[in-house]
């Protein structure tokens, strides 16, 4: 008569462990793949690209060279006045408190100096665009940012950055100053999935588009 022992407990445990290990590998691959796909749908979306195009033209119609100079300037925008007092502010002579620790020029809502003396006229329009299009930040950078998709936030939590554990700003800082005749504007939009404004960062998603700025 054949032996009819069936599975013993140890065998059940071993099989379950193997299954578990396999599932963990499959699951991690699946999550990575889903996150990458989700990021790509929120990166260079045609609607955001057109918005970015017109916004970049809008900014360029003002004194855009001023922004380029700021980008090249080793002093931070906020420290500039202080730094000018203490040195001529170049990479060699600027004090450590004066030197920039980042490689991009940031445009935020309400930044007035980029309009020069036209800000009083442009402020309301600039603010309306900013709110209506749900812009979070705009960066001007001279490096190639074609790999930027790696750094947009995770689909479930925008602030859980997955670009070598760094945020978008962190990523931009890792780039070298590239060809100084080529500039890129990176537009970072932030809204809820249904397109409404973010409230307390809950359910917020980041959308990204970048435009090459030429003929400066």
């Amino acid at each position: 008569m054949p032996k009819k022992n069936g599975f013993i407990f140890v065998e059940t445990v071993i099989v379950t462990c193997v299954l578990l290990a396999s599932l963990m590998v499959i699951y991690s691959l699946y999550v990575t793949s889903i996150n990458t796909e989700s990021r790509y749908t929120r990166y260079d979306d045609p609607a955001k690209l057109y918005e970015s195009y017109y916004l970049s033209k809008y900014f360029q119609s003002f004194d855009f060279r001023y922004l380029i100079q700021n980008l090249k300037d080793p002093c931070t925008y906020t420290d500039r006045n202080q730094c000018l007092n203490e040195s001529t502010c170049n990479w060699n002579s600027a004090s450590s408190s004066c030197k920039k620790s980042y490689h991009y020029e940031l445009i935020w809502q309400g930044r007035s100096d980029i309009f020069g003396n036209l800000y009083a006229k442009e402020a309301v329009f600039f603010d309306s665009l900013w709110s209506s299009l749900h812009i979070k930040n705009i960066y001007l950078i001279s490096s190639d940012v074609s790999n930027i998709t790696r750094c947009s936030g995770d689909i479930y939590n925008q602030y859980q950055a997955i670009c070598d554990n760094e945020s978008l700003m962190g990523y931009l800082n890792t780039l070298d100053d590239g060809n100084t005749n080529e500039y890129y504007m990176i537009f970072e939009f932030e809204s809820q999935r249904d397109g409404k404004s973010c409230v307390n960062n809950s359910g917020c998603l980041g959308y990204y588009a970048y435009i090459k700025v030429s003929d400066i």
Binding site: K4, N5, F9, T12, V13, T16, C17, L19, L20, L23, M24, I26, Y27, Y30, V31, I34, E37, S38, T41, R42, D45, P46, A47, Y50, E51, Y54, L55, K57, Y58, S61, A120, K121, E122, V124, F125, F126, S128, L129, S132, L133, S191, Q192, R193, D194, G195, Y207
Partner: protein, 176 residues
């Protein structure tokens, strides 16, 4: 013959281990369902959506947008361009027709996918008339802007990357 069977403790441990496996499986299935509900339509519809926006935005740029008028029933949008050219975008729940030349049928994941005509919006940002007054603190930009949003909904879900958005900034003096 050994007819001891398995003990209660062994059953409990086996069930616990299998539960862990099931937990992962459940999470996987939940994620898949979430993706299906929220992203699949955007991906399958991306080409049609991009084509619509490209076609109209090209006209904005090449012809120079002057004004945008949304009809009362929100089923048509009239675009007036420089040199007295005008084109109309007609909307139904499942299609868009532009200037009687091009019709795009929206791809359907299910019967609930449609253009949310009731929520079509045309936002305009124009300089305030009071800007002639030097002390005005209103919008006194030399630029004006139109932002047109045509929402596309899949069932009860609204996803901004399904929506058809059109945007234009131009000199206010050339727009109305």
């Amino acid at each position: 013959m050994n007819k001891k069977g398995i003990t209660l403790v062994e059953i409990v441990i086996s069930v616990a281990l299998i539960s862990v496996v099931m937990l992962f499986l459940f999470r996987l299935l939940t994620d898949m369902q979430y993706e299906r509900d929220h992203a699949s339509y955007a991906k399958s519809n991306q080409q049609v959506r991009a084509s619509i926006m490209e076609h109209i935005q090209n006209d904005f740029q090449n012809l120079g947008l002057q004004s945008v008028t949304l009809s009362e029933d929100k089923k048509s949008i009239l675009f007036a361009f420089q040199n007295s050219v005008s084109k109309t975008l007609n909307l139904t729940e499942h299609s868009l027709t532009y200037a009687d030349e091009e019709t795009w049928e929206m791809k359907k994941d299910n019967d609930d996918t449609k253009i949310d005509i009731g929520n079509v919006e045309v936002k305009k940002y124009f300089p305030d008339p009071s800007c002639n007054d030097l002390s005005s603190t209103g919008n006194c930009s030399t630029y004006a802007s139109y932002h047109i949003i045509i929402p596309v909904v899949t069932g009860l879900n609204t996803n901004v990357i399904d929506d058809i958005e059109l945007f234009y900034i131009g000199l206010a003096s050339k727009m109305s």
